[in-house]
């Protein structure tokens, strides 16, 4: 009871716990744990044999946080910015620090634009995007979608219904736009 000074009694003694749970108390001493103390200065421990690493070649202007004073010596080279989403991303990095909401909101917006651009671009390839195979939704059958949800007390099944809308909305929008464009074209001909 917190209304008096004593700690509530433990249900099991240390001996009982040691007997029931393999390894109980193996790291009992709080000072003898791998992440204690939080900071432990030892620059040779890691295996690094440099004071500052050699620099990786910058093959295209690499976008970076304005909170960095320089490009880091090593960086990822996946997916260079391209298209309209790339313009938005570069602006978000060049203009706003990580401290500003605008930085992140622009990047999230760029992600949505990137998805739309990439999907459109995929239609010009031999492998257009396919929402059925890419969402893995067919596994609903093989992986027991029904019995994994129905009759269970899980709370996430309600909002899972939103997922197909999130995935499908851009496709529906693109379809409607396409339809409208075709109608305008054919009307223009008449």
């Amino acid at each position: 009871m917190p209304y008096t000074s004593d700690k509530p009694k433990q249900a099991e003694t240390a001996e009982e716990l040691r007997a029931r749970i393999p390894g109980w108390g193996a790291d009992l001493d709080p000072k003898d744990r791998p992440s204690v103390p939080k900071e432990r200065f030892d620059p040779t421990l890691s295996g690094a044999h440099w004071e500052f690493p050699e620099r990786q070649e910058e093959k295209w202007p690499r976008e970076r946080s304005i909170e960095h004073s320089m490009l880091t010596p090593v960086f990822g080279t996946s997916c260079p910015p391209k298209g309209l989403s790339g313009v938005i991303r570069k602006y978000a990095y060049a203009r706003y620090s990580e401290g500003r909401a605008a930085h992140w909101l622009l990047l999230v917006a760029a992600d949505r634009v990137d998805t739309a651009e990439s999907t459109l671009r995929s239609f010009a390839t031999l492998r257009p995007d396919n929402p059925i195979t890419q969402t893995g939704v067919l596994s609903e059958v093989r992986r027991h979608g029904w019995s994994s949800r129905v009759g269970r007390k899980r709370v996430d099944t309600g909002h899972q219904l939103l997922d197909p809308i999130i995935v499908g909305a851009p496709w529906v929008a693109a379809g409607l736009l396409g339809y409208a464009a075709i109608r305008r074209l054919t009307r223009g001909r008449r």
């Binding site: 249900a11 749970i21 390894g23 990095y93 992140w104 939704v137 007390k153 909002h159």
Partner: protein, 381 residues
């Protein structure tokens, strides 16, 4: 090579991609023999992490064989079997020199607040990940370790993130003998955190989730006392009731950005992306722990703001501890624990799925189908 590729929220596919090349003298190229999907990958998969680009290969849990090394690599040879921590780190910056490998300053130009992580968006450095046949591993002399002979590959791949993170989460709880620890989330991280809490001398370990099959695993694997929050009108009140109205000494958030249990929080964060993450479990942790207690946050949140109850944390005098896990720092001790037979990481693996079927694996893991807890990915299966 074959590689998983992100195509947009909830959409991934396997593509033919160029094999990665050595881009820095201390790079290695690793041929992946096992990978896994992590709860963190779901934040990317759902489109919640800013600067997640179409075309990126995810995957920060992987082990494999060294296929090529750069000219300055001294500690690895072609053919070595290696496990690779999910952190990319230089070993020599201000932070690495102090053991804060997850916070390396030399590997992520895109953000100073985040270190480098394989296959985890440009916000974490823009590196392709290991859900592929091959992956570029920077700082090969610093990150990877040889897989000990006695360690199974399935256990090794789990040590590259989930096991180390759960163990780290229990450490950040600053558990002392006899403490009552409540773990929110019975996913891989929560299960390992619960098991690790006992190693640190907890007197009672409670696990909360809404997925019965995962709570069952928490009972068996982590010897925990479990509660399904879906059965209670107010799980915080229930936590008070079962702890003599004191509250737990330590709470661990092993849920993160997609937390369920409050529709408004979940939808504004996970679906509408108006918050960095849904802090339901974090808020429950803050409210369930006793005054003066510690909340350890392993759940990951995006860089945007989240509606966290800081007022309660402040008034209660809580200690909030958190970080990405410094994976490699945990390994020597975890090797001992596993060798001693205290637990077998792969006991929680439920699925082994060929890389070619990864879209189904993501859907299953995200929608929590087929009693999935931890799916491993096998290239060339």
């Amino acid at each position: 090579m074959r590689a998983m590729v992100y195509r947009g929220p909830y959409r991934v596919r396997v593509e033919e991609k160029d094999r990665p090349a050595i881009e820095h003298p201390n790079d290695a190229i690793v041929r992946v023999t096992r990978a896994a999907i992590c709860g963190s990958d779901l934040h990317l998969y759902h489109g919640m992490m800013p600067d997640t680009r179409v075309g990126m290969t995810f995957g920060h849990e992987f082990v494999g064989v060294v296929d090529e090394v750069g000219p300055s690599v001294q500690n690895l040879r072609v053919g070595d079997r290696v496990m690779v921590p999910f952190n990319i780190f230089c070993g020599s910056c201000f932070f690495c020199a102090r053991g804060l490998y997850a916070n390396c300053h030399n590997v992520n130009p895109n953000a100073t607040a985040v270190g480098g992580i394989y296959g985890y968006s440009h916000t974490c450095g823009g590196y392709d990940g290991g859900q592929a046949e091959y992956v570029r591993v920077p700082f090969a002399d610093v990150g990877p370790s040889l897989i000990p002979d006695w360690l199974e590959e399935d256990d090794a791949v789990l040590l590259t993130d989930a096991v180390a993170t759960g163990y780290f989460g229990a450490q950040l709880g600053d558990i002392v003998e006899g403490d009552t620890v409540v773990v929110f989330g019975a996913g891989p991280v929560g299960l390992y955190a619960a098991k690790s809490s006992w190693l640190m001398g907890a007197g009672r370990v409670i696990v909360i989730d809404h997925l019965e099959y995962r709570l069952q695993k928490a009972k068996e694997f982590a010897h925990a006392e479990t509660y399904n929050f879906a059965e209670y009108d107010d799980i915080v009140v229930h936590m008070k009731r079962i702890t003599d109205h004191l509250g737990a000494d330590v709470a661990i958030d092993a849920v993160g950005a997609e937390a369920d249990g409050n529709l408004l929080q979940h939808v504004t964060a996970a679906k509408l992306k108006l918050q960095g993450g849904s802090p339901i479990a974090l808020n429950w942790a803050i409210d369930s722990v006793r005054k003066g207690g510690t909340v350890s946050v392993m759940g990951a949140y995006g860089p945007l703001f989240s509606a966290v109850k800081f007022g309660d944390a402040m008034n209660k005098g809580l200690t909030l501890r958190m970080n990405q896990c410094h994976v490699k720092r945990q390994w020597p001790r975890l090797f001992e624990h596993i060798r001693n037979g205290y637990f077998t990481p792969s006991d929680i693996v439920t699925h082994r799925i060929p890389l070619e079927h990864i879209a189904e694996a993501y859907h299953m893991f995200s929608a929590k189908l087929d009693d999935c807890i931890k799916p491993l990915i096998v290239p060339n299966a």
